[in-house]
């Protein structure tokens, strides 16, 4: 059983590692971005897919990582590695702080509260334009994008770094959701009252899940800053809270590999549609509506229901 669960996940990492050598340039560079965004989506899935916390404020945690990293690197002269650690922690701390307040509410109110906090964060970035440079954004020079001797502005090292980030994040998620704590997270999603009656503390469980989710978002934001050398306010806008939800829904909420599948499919769908029409918003809108109407469980969710019931 254990091996059966492990092989698709380790297999994917192996396949992606091989991709470093056989992917054509264009797709190779896309994959670097896809893996970073998939890390973000995997974190979102921990909160939304497994714990049932539908947040519309994850852009705040992503932006916390993004800006903590780019500001420490460009302003204080920290090395990029230390800046990334700062970003990673900033995402978790921000999520914990928001959770302390927002988790007093549930359901629709939770969505609106997280949305409001993220909106306040976005406005703050614009307000502090002297340091964040608002919409225009911070461009991190190539010289500052070195981690452990690797120049992350180079496509090849960027690919390895993105794969390392995603691989660690995905395997941790796999371990987490199969651990006893992961089971309790799912219990919160399925029936909070019953879980409480069994002696679990819903607030503590949900707060931990949200903070973990924030750590992923912070890590993805930190990696984005160093790998792509850019931090702009648009990356903190409400759209970046909606996108991870869309990716997770598309790939399959509550599946470990779903977020990656969702990012991959959506990335190439928009890329492909971009060749046909400039109406990319339409693609996102239609995808959202079609998903909730016809495939509420997403791609991997449907596959799990039909063929591989053991898929975590």
């Amino acid at each position: 059983m254990k091996k059966q669960v492990l092989w698709p996940h380790v297999g994917l990492i192996g396949l992606l590692a091989a991709g470093q050598f056989f992917l054509p340039d264009y797709h190779h560079s896309n994959m670097g971005k896809i893996l970073v965004l998939a890390t973000y989506a995997t974190g979102y899935n921990i909160a939304f897919g497994y714990t049932g916390l539908l947040s519309l404020g994850h852009a705040l945690f992503f932006a916390a990582g993004l800006y903590a990293t780019s500001l420490t690197i460009t302003l204080t002269g920290w090395p990029a590695g230390a800046g990334m650690v700062a970003g990673f922690l900033a995402g978790g701390v921000m999520a914990g702080a928001v959770g302390l307040l927002a988790l007093r509410t549930a359901g629709v109110a939770f969505m609106i509260v997280t949305l409001m906090f993220a909106q306040a964060g976005y406005l703050t970035i614009l307000y502090l334009g002297r340091w964040t440079r608002g919409d225009e954004g911070i461009v991190i020079p190539q010289a500052l994008r070195q981690v452990a001797g690797l120049d992350l502005s180079q496509a090849e090292s960027r690919y390895w770094a993105a794969l390392l980030l995603y691989g660690v994040g995905m395997l941790f998620c796999l371990w987490l959701v199969r651990s006893p704590f992961g089971r309790v997270m799912v219990a919160m999603r399925e029936n909070e009252d019953r879980a409480r009656m069994l002696g679990y503390n819903p607030f503590a469980v949900k707060l931990t899940a949200l903070a973990l989710s924030g750590l992923y978002a912070g890590a993805a934001g930190a990696a984005y800053a160093v790998m792509f050398g850019y931090a702009g306010a648009s990356l903190a806008s409400v759209q970046y809270s909606i996108l991870p939800m869309l990716w997770v829904l598309l790939g399959g909420a509550g599946t470990v590999l779903g977020p990656f599948v969702g990012v991959l499919v959506m990335f190439y769908l928009i890329d492909y549609a971009g060749n046909l029409t400039s109406a990319t918003l339409l693609v996102v809108g239609v995808a959202l509506v079609a998903l909730v109407l016809f495939a509420p469980k997403g791609i991997l969710g449907a596959i799990r229901d039909r063929w591989v019931r053991w898929l975590p």
Binding site: T105, V113, M116, G285, L293
Partner: protein, 295 residues
Amino acid sequence: MDFGPLLLLAVMEGTVTAAVLALTAVGLSLTFGTMRVVNVAHGEFFMLGAVLAWFVGQWIPGAPALAFAVALIFCPLVVAAVAVATDMLILKRLNYAPEPTIVATIGVLYILQQAALSIFGPDARPVAAPFNIRLQLPWFGYSGYKIFVICAALALLALVWLLLTRTRIGLIMRATQEDRETARAFGINVDRVYAGVFGLGAALAALGAVLVVPIRQAHYLMGADPLLLSFIVVIIGGLGSLRGTLVAALFIGILDGVLSAAFFFPPTFAKIVATLLVAMVLVFRPQGLFGKGAG
């Protein structure tokens, strides 16, 4: 200008904002109150109303008053039709489950925005006011049209109130809100009530937009602010409470007018504070500042 007249001007501007906001927010509040649906696309219905008003202005050139009158009837009807279609094709099939509904209305938001961008274009476009009368006050001149907007919004709100409290339609709506199952048992076609309420809510947003578009311009992204402000109003007023919504709209509108007259704060800072305050209201007083209980 002295402080007194400046404050008066700010309050008057705020009252115009409040009047339009009240219409839009009552639309949102109706759909939430009756259907328990959070409609994220509400701002886009507002935008659609304004954009359609611009098209009406193009079809009837040279006669702004006639174009305005036509828009006042045509735009809400078209927007209501779009909303009813959204309800019947999407929301009904989701059985109005809260979270899928929100995801779906986010999708509708993007679809409408893209439609406006593709057909109407990315530029902001002005719509002519139906008349230009200037009221001369002792300290400054003031647009007569803005006064008209306030009066028109009040009249429309009074009509909504009459509809809800004095007619059979209102009775059926309130009965459905109270208890959907019992209403169904009494032979009320709940599906039709829901479609109608969703259409009415959207039509109110469109009416607000038609009224305000001669003052502001039509733009495909203009839906974001009304959506956020309507949410703020509905939350502070108490989700689903109509009276609270009106009081909160007046409060927020005038506050907005006074704050954006830029006495004290830069507007971004004021927005940050307002957004955080609303979040705090939801966290600590989910029934709203004015509401006693939910509903």
